[in-house]
């Protein structure tokens, strides 16, 4: 079932008030609808209710039911019709209610969304955005906490983007909607209520899709992460000072395209890297990232690239999820295993 809580709140948040990631996403959608009549939002409960996370709060009221539409309850139908709308020149933005409830639309995604540009030799690109609240840490019951990024990043033709800050939530969503390629836009649920002194009236500059950002410079090792794990990594880097480690943190922001240049440059500087994400480690994003770092930076590495990830298990029930999610201790443990004695 769906846990509907925490309104995105008033959009009149003034410049001085901190805004949540939910509000920033809401503003990005509002601005996109205002800027381009081709933008249409489709999803379950996105209209009158404003979405179970209130990301579409007020949009139907402001732009009408044709621009922000409560659809029948069918994810394959939502994405399939969005494909048709995009074929006709619209720019659909689809909301999947939760990570695990996007699965019925998987065939549309893999067989059509990801391939349309390629199979039509570029004649029919699909400029559509698929917003998916994802990840755990919110005490959700079964099927409400999946991290599904690996399925998507393994599907050529899809961009896979995930913001970790309030500012990026706005900027990256605007960039995703503006993109002529399909973008799977993964919104970390547990960061929806994270705040920043961000002003909806003066959005930060739109970051290009595919650029990682160094969130914290560090000399001794680099944590590479994205989405929900960024705050955990920053906390770990802070805690590591006690052990005399100066850890840097890279926020990928986009898994596809993967910003190999930024990552490689940073890791060459430290020679040690740990990839952190909460989805299962086996066959996960970290495997790809670690492999690429090894290929690009082998002669600069002082230790194997390690991964700290969720266990290879179905997402656990809420009372046990803290044991599954990578936390500060597990990250620092990994840093400790980076062959310091040989360094």
């Amino acid at each position: 079932m769906t846990t509907a809580t925490h309104a995105a709140g008033s959009t009149e948040a003034s410049a001085s008030k901190p805004a949540t990631m939910a509000q920033a996403l809401n503003q990005a959608l509002r601005d996109a609808l205002a800027a381009d009549p081709a933008v249409h939002i489709l999803g379950e409960d996105v209209g009158t209710l404003g979405g179970v996370f209130r990301i579409t709060d007020g949009l139907t009221k402001e732009f009408g039911e044709d621009r922000c539409t409560d659809t029948p309850l069918a994810e394959a139908g939502i994405l399939g019709t969005a494909v048709g709308m995009a074929m006709y020149g619209l720019r659909p933005v689809v909301e999947m209610q939760f990570d695990a409830f996007a699965y019925p639309s998987f065939e549309q995604l893999v067989s059509h969304v990801a391939r349309m540009r390629n199979r039509t030799r570029g004649a029919m690109p699909l400029p559509l955005t698929i917003r998916i609240p994802y990840g755990g840490g919110i005490g959700g019951v079964e099927h409400h906490s999946d991290s599904s990024e690996a399925y998507y990043l393994h599907t050529p033709g899809l961009h896979v983007v995930t913001p970790a800050t309030v500012e990026d939530a706005y900027g990256l969503l605007r960039a995703a909607i503006a993109s002529d390629d399909p973008v799977v836009f993964l919104e970390p649920k547990r960061l929806y209520w994270s705040k920043s002194q961000w002003s909806p009236q003066e959005p930060a500059e739109v970051p290009p899709i595919g650029k990682a950002v160094v969130r914290r410079p560090g000399r001794t090792a680099t944590l590479i992460t994205y989405g929900p794990s960024l705050p955990v990594c920053l906390e770990a880097a802070e805690a590591a000072k006690e052990d005399g480690w100066d850890l840097g943190v890279v926020d990928l922001r986009s898994l596809v395209p993967f910003d190999e240049e930024t990552v490689a440059a940073v890791v060459r500087g430290t020679g040690r890297a740990v990839v952190v994400h909460e989805s299962s480690g086996f066959g996960g994003a970290g495997a790809e990232i670690a492999a690429r770092i090894t290929e690009r930076c082998f002669h600069h590495l002082e230790a194997p690239v390690l991964r700290v990830a969720g266990f290879d298990i179905p997402y656990p029930p809420p009372m046990l999820e803290r044991h599954h999610l990578p936390g500060v201790d597990r990250i620092l443990d990994a840093v400790g295993r980076l062959q310091w004695e040989e360094g």
Partner: protein, 366 residues
């Protein structure tokens, strides 16, 4: 004469007998109710009152932090209880996440039925014990399972019927279509019960389907559709029993639409005032399943203060026991995370298990 006039191109089934009556079937308050067995009416009454109390108690437990979330079926008790009572012990129930009452009425321990929503595990009961499939959250995905199980039972020559429950919103999912089609083609012994409670979270039925009724969809699959007053426990029980019997005797599947209403919000975490009017809720409260049944019992002299009091006391006792049992913390073993992922854990899982064990050991020592 063209090829279209040959028998091969005639409709294979006559659509007319499959069509639902346009008026929901009712028994309580009608002359036909006189023939109803008093024992059945009393049994339904006792269970409905218990069910409502269970919903209230479970919702209270969310406020006390003892449940992560609870989707209440208040207002829908007649559907929930009738579903459980219409089945024989060897039959199977395939519930959706809102159907805890049906699961409990079928015999599952009331606390084990809440494991999913408390969050200490996913399915808190062994599905085989009472032949109740896990509560299904991904909408409509349980429907093909019910068809497959019923089909398997028939192939094995067993006398088993599967009853699958789904909400009105769930009927929009592709799995609903596929399940009904398979069931009809295979003539599987399945009954599909749709509780049309007016809403899928905030989305009203009008945005969900343009069909005359959900029951009408049955015709497209070649099975009968039945429209029932979902707040009439006797009507629900009769229609379900007939459909189960039909399935049992080789008649194939039935689609039943129970017209009812979700009195509470979608879950305790939802704010229904954002999308519906209190006046609508009030109108449905006036057609409350317990009140409708009480009127019938009273008019037939089957309900006196003694029965009313003993029924209320029984429900209170159940609630008190539920409350007490839910107020003790469940015993959790983090190592359970690695159990039952596979019959045999992979080498990687063994390694991860050892890692967590070491972490917990370190935690204990610090």
């Amino acid at each position: 004469m063209t090829v279209l006039d040959t028998p091969a191109w005639r409709p294979r089934t006559d659509a007319a007998p499959l069509l639902p009556d346009p008026e929901p079937f009712r028994l309580l308050g009608t002359p036909e109710a006189a023939a109803l067995d008093p024992a059945l009416l009393r049994a339904l009454y006792g269970q409905l009152v218990r069910g409502r109390r269970y919903n209230a108690q479970a919702t209270a437990l969310t406020k006390q932090g003892r449940l992560a979330v609870y989707p209440s079926s208040t207002g829908q008790e007649a559907c929930e209880i009738a579903a459980a009572l219409a089945l024989q012990p060897q039959d199977w129930l395939f519930p959706s996440y809102r159907d805890t009452l049906a699961v409990v009425a079928r015999g599952v321990d009331p606390v084990e039925a809440l494991t999913l929503l408390r969050g200490d595990w996913h399915t808190g009961y062994d599905p085989h014990t009472h032949r109740v499939a896990p509560l299904s959250t991904p909408l409509a995905t349980q429907l093909p399972h019910a068809v497959g199980l019923a089909h398997a039972a028939r192939l094995s020559g067993d006398d088993v019927v599967a009853l699958a429950m789904v909400g009105d919103g769930g009927t929009s999912e592709g799995d609903f279509h596929e399940a009904l089609n398979f069931a009809a083609v295979w003539k599987a012994p399945v009954v599909f019960l749709v509780q049309n409670n007016g809403f899928a979270i905030s989305v009203p039925l009008a945005k969900q389907t343009a069909a005359p009724t959900i029951a009408h969809k049955a015709v497209g699959y070649g099975m009968p559709g039945r429209l029932v007053d979902g707040n009439d426990a006797a009507a629900m029980h009769q229609v379900l029993t007939e459909a189960v019997e039909r399935a049992r005797t080789g008649g194939g599947p039935t689609l039943i639409e129970a017209v009812t209403y979700r009195i509470d919000a979608h879950t305790n975490a939802d704010d229904a005032t954002r999308y519906r009017d209190d006046s609508e809720v009030a109108a449905w409260r006036a057609h409350d399943p317990i009140a409708v049944l009480e009127r019938e019992l009273t008019s037939r002299g089957l309900l006196d203060d003694t029965l009313r009091d003993s029924t209320a006391a029984d429900a209170e006792e159940m609630a008190a026991s539920l409350r007490e049992r839910m107020h003790s913390d469940p015993q959790l073993d983090p190592m359970d995370l690695f159990a039952h992922v596979y019959a045999e854990p992979t080498p990687q899982l063994r390694e991860q298990q050892a890692q967590l064990q070491a972490e917990l050991e370190a935690e204990r020592q610090s």
